[in-house]
């Protein structure tokens, strides 16, 4: 099982790196980091913090696209084109295929986010635009902890998209579902925050949406909790317990999605 898992992970890694869409999205990520540098010029008092803020958003968005595309190309398309038959013909458990591909995608995501993280650090260095920032950004551990938080976020989105891919007959549907899922999970936290603060005095809105959002919070994970960027930007360190529990929540959710994916893939009839 382990050997099969490793083999699928290595295949996913190699195919992922070769994919043309991956190259296009990576160029898009680099363009977003250039946009972060330009956005810094608009700032009245904090060019480097704006570069960091917009750059982190750029990394999060492009990493989401990358993860979705990898799942689509490495699993969704293989199912759609029936090339998965060739893989399933080998005497190895189907679970090894799903988990191996997921592991490969995680390795690709880790390498991409590490590279983008280093590039963003360089972008921040050249984004002062001739203005001395009143306080230093925390670009050591706080910065890398934020990147790790994003990686966990991407791992959850990938697991969900993978689960959808195992039941879908179209390669594009997991892409759309994954994008919608990431959007909903990231919005959940700010929406809960907004409602808890009274929605700017709109009692009707709170009355209507509070029960609904309170139910949704049990169905999808609050990925906003994994965004620690206040730490590198303003030195507001996260509450350790809350962060660790958030990582545990995200990991459990990803594990549930993988279980679902394996279960669905095992039962799937390829005709």
């Amino acid at each position: 099982m382990l050997a099969a898992l490793r083999q699928h992970a290595v295949t996913a890694w190699k195919s992922g790196l070769r994919g043309r869409t991956f190259h296009a999205v990576f160029v898009f990520a680099l363009l977003l980091l250039t946009a972060a540098w330009l956005a810094a010029a608009f700032s009245a008092r904090q060019p480097q913090a704006v570069a960091l803020d917009v750059g982190l958003s750029g990394i999060r968005i492009s990493m989401t696209f990358l993860a979705l595309i990898w799942v689509q190309e490495l699993v969704g398309r293989e199912i759609e084109r029936r090339t998965v038959f060739l893989v399933l013909a080998y005497p190895m458990p189907r679970a090894a295929y799903i988990l191996g591909r997921y592991l490969g995608i995680l390795l690709l995501a880790a390498a991409a986010i590490l590279l983008l993280g280093v590039i963003l650090l360089a972008v921040i260095q050249i984004s002062a635009w001739g203005y001395q920032y009143p306080h230093a950004l925390k670009l050591g551990w706080p910065y890398w902890a934020t990147i790790v938080g994003f990686f966990v976020d991407i791992a959850v989105v990938s697991a969900f998209t993978l689960a959808v891919a195992t039941v879908s007959s179209s390669a594009i549907f997991p892409l759309i579902a994954g994008a919608g899922f990431s959007l909903a999970c990231r919005m959940l936290g700010p929406v809960l925050d907004y409602l808890s603060r009274g929605a700017e005095g709109d009692k009707e809105l709170v009355r209507h949406f509070d029960p609904l959002v309170s139910t949704i919070r049990w169905l999808i994970p609050d990925l906003d909790r994994l965004d620690l960027r206040l730490w590198p930007m303003f030195g507001t360190s996260p509450v350790p317990d809350a962060f660790l529990v958030s990582v545990a929540m995200a990991s459990c959710y990803a594990a549930l999605m993988l279980l679902l994916a394996v279960h669905a893939f095992n039962r799937r009839q390829f005709v």
Partner: protein, 274 residues
């Protein structure tokens, strides 16, 4: 083949020439600016959707939008939307430095003191190392909310966040003056301090003009006080103060407004109408 290549080259050169010429022509044409840049307000949930669920990106988009409004005079309904954008940005990212700074520079002067104080209050909470939000909050309490005692308390909070001893003591002294309800030009000084801390030339100029207006108002108030002391009544206009020698010349309002003195001796300024 050669003929085909020749045609392709001709089309390429023609396209390049056309493109270059069009870009050159357009670069001299002023871009039409919509008057209603701030006419549309999306609720926070829709803003989040637009930012891909990323609350920090939504905050940045709000702040960039407020920058686009500039420092020119807006209509009341535009100020209303501007205030909501600042409040939303503070909701998404309470520590956003440009947000609290620009909100403090624009909103209270347009009558949106509550919103400005909300933004500054959130920034004070999330930026414990930064004295500016507390300083600006105190300024609004003192100048707009007419509460010198509360303002002095907040000013002392700001002072406690400053490492530089000289600046800290200067703020402590200012707080002491506010406790005594002393009048003075400290309001203008805070605006000049804000102007010195930005690399945005438009904002710096706007703040310096605000400070100059406060200086001029302070001069008229002093002259009015002297008139009342000497004559027992109040002047009807600033020109009367000049004619009687209480003011060397009528101060010029940097925003082009017109001075007036109310029946209780308060100096006000009527904004220039477009």
């Amino acid at each position: 083949m050669i003929r085909r290549l020749g045609s392709a080259t001709f089309v390429l050169l023609l396209a390049l020439f056309g493109y270059g010429h069009a870009v050159d022509w357009l670069s001299t044409k002023e871009r039409p600016r919509a008057r209603d840049e701030l006419a549309i307000y999306l609720p926070p949930v829709a803003q989040l959707l637009g930012a891909g669920g990323d609350r920090y990106l939504a905050a940045n988009m709000d702040v960039f939008r407020t920058f686009m409004a500039g420092t020119g005079r807006l209509r009341p309904e535009e100020y209303e939307i501007l205030a909501r954008l600042h409040v939303d940005a503070a909701l998404f990212n309470p520590g956003h430095e440009d947000n609290y700074y620009v909100a403090a520079a624009i909103l209270p002067w347009a009558g949106h003191v509550t919103e400005a104080q909300y933004v500054l209050g959130r920034a004070m909470e999330s930026r414990p190392f930064d004295y500016m939000p507390a300083l600006l909050y105190a300024f609004d309490q003192r100048y707009f909310q007419k509460d010198p005692v509360a303002a002095a308390g907040t000013l002392r909070t700001a002072a406690a966040r400053i490492d530089d001893e000289r600046t800290r003591i200067a703020l402590e002294v200012m707080a002491a003056n506010w406790y005594e309800k002393a009048e003075g030009s400290s309001a203008a000084e805070i605006l000049r301090l804000m102007a010195a801390q930005t690399n945005n030339k438009d904002f710096a100029e706007h703040l310096n003009r605000r400070a100059a207006r406060l200086d001029a108002m302070a001069a008229i108030e002093v002259a009015t006080g002297r008139w009342r002391l000497e004559r027992g009544d109040l002047p009807h206009s600033v020109s009367e103060l000049v004619r009687a020698g209480f003011l060397p010349a009528e101060p010029v309002d940097p925003f082009g407004g017109r001075w007036s003195i109310t029946r209780d001796g308060t100096v006000t300024v009527a904004e220039k109408t477009n």
